[in-house]
Symmetry: C3
């Protein structure tokens, strides 16, 4: 089956629940070469900062020292002909049941202008990414998505705004299957009715859905991809898919995914999605990853997807 390639990836350098790879500038330069070779044309900084860490010495966050990886990533993206989307500050990664979103908003109100001032003119800085993840129409989700994307458009009207929400398998757990679909659509119509006018691209994460055989009670990946596509069309957004390249079923959270599952997810997303991106290349698909099986995943990806050989 014909499948789109993965042409975008997050850069998870200030990590949340994924261990740091402790790469040098040289390691990152080599990685950009590899990403280019793999056909990546878009990189997304998953977050500029998390609590006491940031990818550049941020006055707003009171971080005085440390490397400027914002500059490095932009320069490397430019060198390799890639577009870069810049992520925001988060204290927690999800805003779903979290009442402290206002603190994050107050910090981001000062962080976003700082990003613009430092990097606004860089030719590779081509979009924004709203780093607060969400899945349901909580007050925090609606407010953060709306305020953040609105501020992004104020600061740089020409830069598209990207979001990458997830499917709330836990939030709809007690509901039956049609009810889950109804609530999913309703939640996202509520969120996008408020925030959608400032958002340009929506890349739903594919990993919390299932495509298992005994499907009676699950929310199937294909339906989810269809409905995500429908929502994007309804609110005039470009529809991408965030194909997760890590496995979710294992005690070890998270290892590189089984390539056969990756391939099937890519095939399923292809008809519904304008572009496949992944979370994320460097930990889970890169030959330079700290996970040795990522090297094997990259070999399989190259053979199967890039060189179209049979397994």
């Amino acid at each position: 089956m014909e499948t789109k390639k993965i042409t975008g990836t997050f850069l998870d350098e200030i990590t949340w629940d994924i261990p740091s790879q402790n790469w040098s500038r040289e390691d990152w330069r080599r990685e950009f070469d590899t990403m280019k070779e793999a056909g990546i044309d878009t990189v997304i900084i998953i977050r500029m900062g998390l609590r006491e860490q940031a990818i550049y010495p941020s006055e707003v966050l009171g971080i005085k020292s440390g490397p400027d990886l914002g500059q490095l990533f932009l320069d490397e993206a430019e060198r390799c002909g890639m577009k870069l989307f810049f992520g925001t500050y988060v204290n927690k990664t999800s805003v779903d049941f979290w009442n402290e979103w206002e603190e994050d908003w107050e910090i981001n109100k000062r962080v976003l202008p700082e990003i613009m001032e430092r990097y606004g003119e860089h030719p590779a800085f081509r979009g924004w990414y709203v780093s607060s993840e969400t899945c349901i129409a909580s007050v925090g989700a609606i407010e953060m998505y709306t305020r953040m994307s609105h501020l992004m458009k104020e600061l740089a009207p020409e830069k598209p705004v990207l979001i990458s929400p997830y499917f709330p398998s836990w939030a709809y757990r007690e509901a039956n299957k049609p009810e889950r679909h109804r609530r999913f659509m309703e939640d996202w119509r509520t969120i996008l009715s408020s925030a959608g006018k400032y958002i340009d691209i929506c890349a739903f994460q594919d990993g919390s859905c299932t495509f298992e055989m005994n499907k009676s009670e699950t929310f199937e990946l294909e339906d989810y991809l269809k409905e995500a596509h429908e929502l994007s069309r309804e609110f005039n957004l470009t529809n991408w898919t965030n194909i997760e390249s890590f496995g979710r079923r294992y005690h070890i959270r998270f290892p590189p995914i089984d390539w056969r599952i990756l391939k099937r997810k890519m095939e399923m997303a292809t008809p519904y999605s304008e572009k496949l991106i992944t979370f994320e290349f460097s930990h889970f698909m890169s030959p330079h990853s700290m996970y040795p099986s990522a090297r094997k995943l990259y070999e399989r990806y190259r053979e199967n997807i890039l060189e179209k050989k049979d397994y």
Copy 2:
């Protein structure tokens, strides 16, 4: 102390809770060479399929594409002079407290003939493995073990049937030590009274027992090995031991085991067991494993067990 070598291993290619290694055909060929070098003469496909995945494009499961690893494993086993036991389909891996065993049974009723049709004549296909794991005499355990092994004998009377049950440390938790022993023997007499006549080889897993110092309240490995041996004799089964080559005591589930523990377990099982097999060579003991410490475990295993050098 003299110890038997490990001469059999599971092939965990459709993994359940262990991450995929994403190996190519070439990687598997190299692995068979290494297994042969290590003295492996028996390989056991742990399961032919799990939910949406299978090791060959299975019409019964509706899987249309993907590699035929059943053929690859059989051909490699033949090339390397090994016997292969073929595992079955599972939706969940355990049938102990699970009422949906009938679904698995219905699928396996069609999967087993498919396996026979595809590979029945292959010279390396030398036995069956019942992939549903169990530990207590639940209805699911009795029915699945009996029906599956019966069907296997109907399809291929000459192929021995292997099972590899585990010790239910959790199921007998509230009981005292003699009571645990009594219930363990009683559960297995119940299961084997029904299924034993179709089963040829029983390889209890050694990992959920303990051989710790403060033993007053535990079920000790040596007693367990003895009782497993006794059960096998009672029901006229060949008694193997499944020596787990992964560690269970760690936050990371599961890393390669400490070789000193592996060695002591092998020594303890040697007098009670006709053959030592392991779960499993390729993730936990192979120099090609995704876990770098597996390479070191293999070095220690070679030096100590194969070359009989002192540590």
Copy 3:
């Protein structure tokens, strides 16, 4: 900012919740060379034994075979000009809410003389380490610290006694911030009033504190370092800090730490601590670690701390 280097490390060879690396004697020799190159002058055997395992064939523990790593570590320490602190036996690692400390004590009463008899005259055997970890003034903590350190002084008055307690983030959870500080100081005044006269060096673990931005309700690392320093002065102990080189925030427990966090923790501890030690070099910071990202952490550590290059 100027920072002390890490000049001591634990040797976690009989591991508790960290997987074994399955190293040979040659692997350990190479590791000592690397530790020396990294500036390590002090190694601490985290425990001589745990349940059924010990670093030497211990008559007391009934362990008849296996390598003598006590000898190996002492010889290597001598060769590399390092001081070695010898740890004790544990059945569980923590004695905080555990009533079975007396069993450990009874075993250690015989293990400590055994260590003295085997290695007492070795020129590299330069101190004791009390392996039972603790954080609050439980009966077990007070008794074990007091009895063990007292016995150590009886057996070898010239060998300093080291402890490495942790911060009980869970024990004071329900208390407010000033209350937490009050209880922390009170617990340790209670413990050290009893055991302090036999203890020479206290190296609080730095990892269960936080140095996050939203600090209102947390116990901050800097305050903790200050108070540990104050306690050590009050009881006339040498104050070291145990800078953990593993990350605690991740699903994978535990990976090598983000080097930027390591660096900030080292900077913060420098003014309060006479010596920085770490748990531990070989799994988390060594180029030979089973964790590929440890190699990268070592590269960053070398460049930044040893060679004082900018990132």
